[in-house]
Symmetry: C2
Subunit: 269 residues, 2 copies
């Protein structure tokens, strides 16, 4: 199996068909990454503690993907082991009237993580060039300007100490079918089954095209996209966790110095 | 050892000296609750999933206690095993000018959990009758009215589907001394050491009195206080987890019914 890049080359048009959603980095099955993943999750826990203590950087993790691509599952698996006080998840739904009355980045900006925090976006401002484009919720003249707005916005964030990590969870059309069927047939998951998702599935090709453009146009040195092969949940969790860890390692995080003269301080009775 | 109630009798003045911070429910040590706690944390994870799915109730957990009482540690231990997408932690710090320009409940109300969510307050509106009273940040005529405001506010919440669970993490003055010393002496914890905490410790008695009044005056049938013996961290985690579980069990939560005709729905290719 040829090695598949996680980050596509910058500056070239991305073709999603070049990326195999079933790719698993040469690993045969879950058992081959289990131990590493467990250690990585512990390491993530440690790194988050230093990130929080240092208060120097915020980490923004953006998750995008088709329905059933595994955004919820990823959040559950990767961030469950981290101190909940240091993580803020935002799940962006259809905008409210108050949100629609502002520019599309208004509600997004409010949820950017503070320094020291990890912020996770379950869907994001990218929906404004995805669902909005596919269903023509605004005219083309409006959404086509948004790629630039997004790039400028993300540049502002990265220049002010926010690390932006963007993950596209890439599944195949057939994998989505299997997951929808599993949801339909499992009594514990049926409440999640939304008949509207079946309708949405008919727009698969339009979504892939919209994704391709969004990924291509908003793929920058400072805030690149990661195309995560996501047919195999275990590989998805493994590679995203690794990427987050490597990103935090590169920051060379340190605990702040203790207050001066701390060892001489006496705690009164 | 006499059994110590977790919830004091409603309608009577609470005397904190009646409650032993070292109480551990008759358990000898950590090993006696470890297995139960582990199972309880799993059960909490399950219950949270149904709470989220049902979207009928919100759960608000309010944590108060002296410095080092273990609010952060409790959050870490109890909520780490729960889907991070279903939990929102708010740590209330000194109010900003914008917050001070409104009534004291303004910033609190904004952070009340949505239905389906667990919201955890690390400190809360109670600080407005605690630190504010001890340091006379507003005149007595102002803070003494706040007990009523708090009761009315919490009543509004409970009448609209928010379950309010209030925990006072009760430690002894000597336990605080030991914890501050541990923080001073452990290189991995020194960054958390705030010399201001030593100064604050001099107000111990004034804080205990303020707590006694706050607990007594805002101890209602619908939103009672739990006085958590917190000298032993393992017992603190054990009893708080148990209380949350029992509260959720009483709600008789159920997954919502699946959409009608779900089994006949065909997922198209």
């Amino acid at each position: 199996m040829a090695k598949q890049p996680l980050i596509p080359p910058i500056g070239k048009k991305i073709k999603l068909s070049d990326y195999d959603p079933g790719y698993a980095g040469g690993f045969k099955d879950k058992t081959e990454v289990e131990e590493t993943l467990k250690k990585d999750l512990q390491r993530l826990d440690e790194l988050q503690d230093i990130l929080y203590a240092g208060g120097q950087y915020g980490l923004l993790v953006i998750l995008q993907g088709m329905d059933t691509a595994g955004k919820d599952g990823l959040i559950r698996h990767v961030f469950k082991g981290v101190d909940p006080q240091g993580v803020e998840i935002t799940s962006f739904k259809a905008p409210t009237p108050a949100e629609l009355a502002r520019d599309f980045l208004w509600r997004i900006h409010q949820r950017v993580p503070a320094k020291g925090m990890i912020g996770v976006f379950n869907r994001s401002h990218y929906e404004d060039v995805l669902v909005v484009r596919v269903h023509e919720l605004v005219p083309k003249s409006v959404w086509k300007e948004r790629y630039d707005h997004i790039n400028r916005f993300e540049e502002t964030l990265t220049e002010h100490g926010t690390i932006v990590l963007k993950f596209f969870l890439h599944i195949s059309k057939n994998e989505q079918k299997e997951r929808l069927e599993a949801r339909r047939d499992d009594p514990a998951k049926q409440w999640k089954f939304n008949p509207g998702d079946l309708k949405e599935r008919e727009y698969w090709d339009a979504y892939q095209e919209a994704y391709q453009d969004a990924l291509s146009r908003c793929h920058t040195e400072k805030a690149p996209w990661h195309i995560v092969p996501a047919n195999k949940k275990w590989y998805r969790n493994y590679i995203v966790t690794k990427t987050i860890i490597e990103t935090l390692e590169r920051l060379d995080l340190k605990y702040p110095a203790p207050p001066e003269g701390i060892t001489q301080m006496v705690v009164p009775d």
